[in-house]
């Protein structure tokens, strides 16, 4: 009894402390709540170096604007004082930065920096598009590099459109065709016809061909330019295409196979078949894009220092210090949460699973592989390895060596599948290695033993329950704000311990037992 009272006091103290600490942070967090909820954040620097000529020298570039999926902030120009700088909004919706100097024969460095916060966006394509009465003609007309009316373009477009029932199908056909053209790292400009002729192209050729095909069939389309942001310095920019559907411009990237989808790290800079940088002819010119990934909390309007200042009780320093990779830190923080969920499912609901943490780890792997294909892969792996180890069970091998055999088979299958995936370009097969091999092996082993001990029916039933627990876990873990919440409120781990202690003393009837003891409860 005494130890129980002590336990209760300890529990209450832990909970009170954690709650108090959380309470101090709740207000500032709510005050700074950010509805934008960016998934990625980067600091981008355009760096230009040039030597001015005798006459007036100009360097121009497009600069990005905020929209519903990207937010541009803290943009500023840092250049030497001899440069005249101007930002200019153009009638076609683009925005330009212009540097100009009259000072001849001098070296200049100009720099334009801004913070990018972005979200991915997926678009639903309507089956048939409404005809827009006032579409700008230029989105349908041919241009120098987008030869809409060329015979070869017309023939291909007509051929692709054959047998299609609606607009959605036609767009899909055009896109799939352009995607299937082999990619090649061609830096020089490739026009639509050339892409078609040589059947190889990089982003600009593919985008132009796609736009040309769309326009040929009467769909307003345009080129979109920008940069794929990564945590490196780069010189390559990127272009993709947009098609007007009803009143929305829907993005298509035929190089990276993004169909009606734009990833969170795509920086949109300009629209139209333009050059990102233009400068006075004949000058010495060089450039680089310096891109740094920023640590950020999606739901907070605060920068790194402000988050650090929020409270001394937070894991933000760990994130800033880059001691642990973000992914590993997330897994670490999510494990207790997932574990608590599994404990709840097992002890309160009464779900039976292969292994305690298997559902958590599988759910975590599913975040990388995608839910449906990942789940199917997981079932496939367990069944396959379970079946392959079945004869070894029959022989009557000792437990540990048998486990080694299962593990080897598991590793073999994973490597083989990955190789096949790479060879034949089947993406979902290459994601197999995300699964925690050893845990999976033990689960497969348990499954094959369960088929012998309890029959395949009960074994499948338990596998099904494991999948159920995995699905529930996935639902929780796929909540993107969760790791950030745990980083700001690490006290939650204490609360989890307190809740686990309560769960540990829970003597109520499990939910499945309501069903089991139904005859008694009536």
């Amino acid at each position: 009894m005494n130890s129980q009272t002590n336990l209760k006091i300890a529990l209450i103290l832990i909970t009170a402390m954690a709650l108090l600490s959380i309470a101090f942070k709740v207000k500032p967090v709510f005050d700074n709540y950010d509805t934008f909820n960016a998934q990625t954040a980067f600091k981008v620097n355009y760096n230009y170096f040039f030597k001015s000529e005798d006459q007036s020298t100009t360097v121009k570039t497009f600069i990005p604007k905020s929209n519903d999926r990207q937010r541009i902030s803290k943009n500023k120009n840092v250049s030497d004082s001899t440069l005249y700088f101007e930002e200019r909004a153009l009638i076609n919706g683009n925005k330009k930065a212009i540097w100009n100097t009259k000072k001849a024969n001098t070296y200049h460095a100009s720099n334009y920096e801004f913070i990018f916060e972005g979200k991915e966006k997926r678009y639903q394509i309507p089956v048939d598009f409404k005809k827009q009465p006032q579409v700008d003609e230029k989105y349908l007309m041919p241009s120098k590099n987008i030869q809409v009316e060329d015979d070869r373009i017309s023939t291909l477009a007509t051929q692709l459109a054959q047998g299609t029932q609606n607009d959605k199908e036609r767009i899909k056909r055009l896109f799939d065709h352009v995607v299937s053209i082999p990619s090649a790292p061609i830096i020089t400009l490739t026009d639509a016809v050339t892409t078609l002729e040589q059947n190889r192209a990089s982003c600009n050729g593919k985008s132009r061909l796609f736009v040309a095909l769309c326009r040929n069939l009467g769909y307003p389309a345009r080129i979109k330019g920008g940069i794929i942001l990564e945590n490196i310095n780069k010189r390559t920019s990127h272009v993709w295409a947009e098609v007007l559907m009803d009143t929305t411009w829907v993005p298509f990237d035929a190089l990276n196979n993004h169909y009606a989808y734009i990833p969170s790290n795509y920086l949109e800079i300009y629209q139209g078949d333009e050059f990102l940088i233009t400068h006075s002819s004949g000058i010495q010119f060089d450039y680089a894009y310096q891109i740094d990934a920023l640590n950020h909390i999606p739901f907070l309007k605060l920068n790194s220092e402000e988050i650090r200042g929020l409270s001394s009780v937070s894991l933000w320093r760990l994130v800033e210090g880059n001691v642990i990779p973000q992914g590993a830190l997330n897994l670490l923080l999510l494990l207790p949460v997932g574990g608590l969920l599994i404990a709840f499912l097992r002890n309160v609901v009464g779900v039976k699973t292969f292994g305690v943490f298997l559902p958590v780890l599988i759910a975590f792997s599913l975040l990388h592989t995608g839910f449906v294909s990942g789940l199917l892969l997981f079932i496939g792996l367990i069944l396959l390895v379970g079946l392959v180890s079945y004869p070894f069970d029959k022989i009557g091998l000792l437990y540990t060596p048998k486990l080694v055999i299962s593990l080897s088979i598991m590793v073999g299958i994973m490597i083989l599948a990955t190789m096949i995936g790479i060879r034949y370009n089947i993406t979902w097969l290459t994601t197999l290695t995300f699964f925690p091999t050893i845990i999976l092996t033990i689960a497969a082993e348990r499954f094959s033993r369960a088929t012998i001990e309890d029959g395949y029916k009960l074994a499948l039933d338990k596998l099904f329950q494991t999948l159920l627990a995995t699905t529930v876990c996935y639902g929780l873990l796929s909540w993107q704000a969760l790791p950030s919440i745990l980083i700001i409120f690490p006290e939650c781990i204490l609360l989890i311990i307190a809740m686990a202690m309560l769960l540990g003393r829970y003597i109520g009837i499990r939910w499945v037992e309501f069903y089991r003891f139904k005859p008694l409860l009536r």
Binding site: N347, V348, G396, L398, Y399, Y506, G508, F517, P519, L520
Partner: protein, 298 residues
């Protein structure tokens, strides 16, 4: 605090039924110290204690620890007409083989002739731990129980056994487990056997439960068992109490068979007895515990 998660209405009704959580926390953890589990999990240790207290159990013919001992042990045992081969630390009846001599002197198991070589293989597999989750195990060869003729009229094949739950050396609840046509001679509820409830005070059978419905008769033979008195009931209760007293484990499932010649025998004891017995008797364990406490106070 967490009980609020569960709908309150049904919570009241469930008061009498013990679930797995409550069994573990309230019955097993405080009553059965972990260090004494081997006394129940290891059939040889169990029998040693039973012998010390002169509690009847099947006669041991041999215990085999090493592969090299199989042959010599077999030479000793092959003179008997029937024997049971068991893994000492087996669970849930896995790896048990009953061998009987047919009229021509061949060994048979489940009606099929088995060679000595097959018997040796089975023993070797048992020693390797095939039936005991990876650990090295021993083989126990003991006399084969011939069920009392009492059971023949209810259901004529397989070995039926009684399960008596004792708490603090008091028998709480009991059931008789019987094989059926679908259970392949096994009496276990999970393996399609049936459970028959017992009126502990009168020593009579009450009802048959097959996992879904209740009957007054055995579903295969249709033999009515309701109010049928159990032979040797006093003795069954006595040896379960004796067994409970012999072990430092206060919450037990005692498994008892009735041999044709020797009467009630302890088969094995279980430190984590299942909860299905509540369904068979249509009574919650908590209700029984309350009643028993009440009787004691009187």
């Amino acid at each position: 605090m967490l009980s609020t998660i569960i709908p309150m209405k049904s919570h009241k009704k469930t008061k009498k039924v013990v679930g797995l959580n409550e069994r573990n926390i309230k019955l097993i953890y405080p009553n059965n110290p972990k260090r004494y589990y081997p006394l129940a999990d290891d059939k040889v240790l169990t029998k040693e204690i039973l012998h010390q207290y002169d509690i009847p159990c099947a006669e041991t013919y041999a215990v085999i620890e090493y592969n090299s001992d199989i042959k010599s042990a077999w030479e000793q045992c092959k003179t008997y007409d029937a024997l049971a081969i068991k893994p000492v630390r087996g669970r849930g009846g896995g790896g048990i083989k009953i061998l009987k001599k047919d009229t021509e002197g061949n060994w048979t198991s489940s009606g099929k002739i088995v060679t000595e070589r097959q018997v040796f293989q089975h023993m070797a597999a048992t020693i390797m731990g095939f039936y005991s989750l990876g650990s090295h195990d021993r083989v126990l060869i003991e006399e084969c129980i011939e069920p009392d003729p009492f059971f023949d009229k209810i259901y004529p094949s397989g070995v039926p056994d009684f399960r008596i739950i004792t708490l603090n050396q008091t028998p709480l609840m009991g059931m008789l487990r019987m094989p059926t046509d679908r259970s392949d001679g096994k009496a276990n509820l999970h393996q399609n056997g049936v459970g028959i409830g017992i009126d502990m005070e009168k020593g009579t059978l009450t009802q048959v439960y097959d996992g879904t419905s209740y009957y007054n008769y055995h579903p295969d033979s249709k033999f009515v068992i309701k109010n049928l008195p159990i032979p040797y009931w006093e003795e069954i209760i006595k040896i379960s109490v004796d067994t409970a007293n012999a072990f430092p484990l206060n919450y037990l499932g005692v498994d008892i068979v009735i041999d044709k010649n020797k009467g009630p025998q302890i088969m094995e004891i279980n430190v984590r007895p299942g909860l299905g017995i509540q369904l068979v008797n249509q009574q919650g364990l908590k209700e029984t515990i309350e009643k028993t406490n009440h009787l004691r106070e009187k």
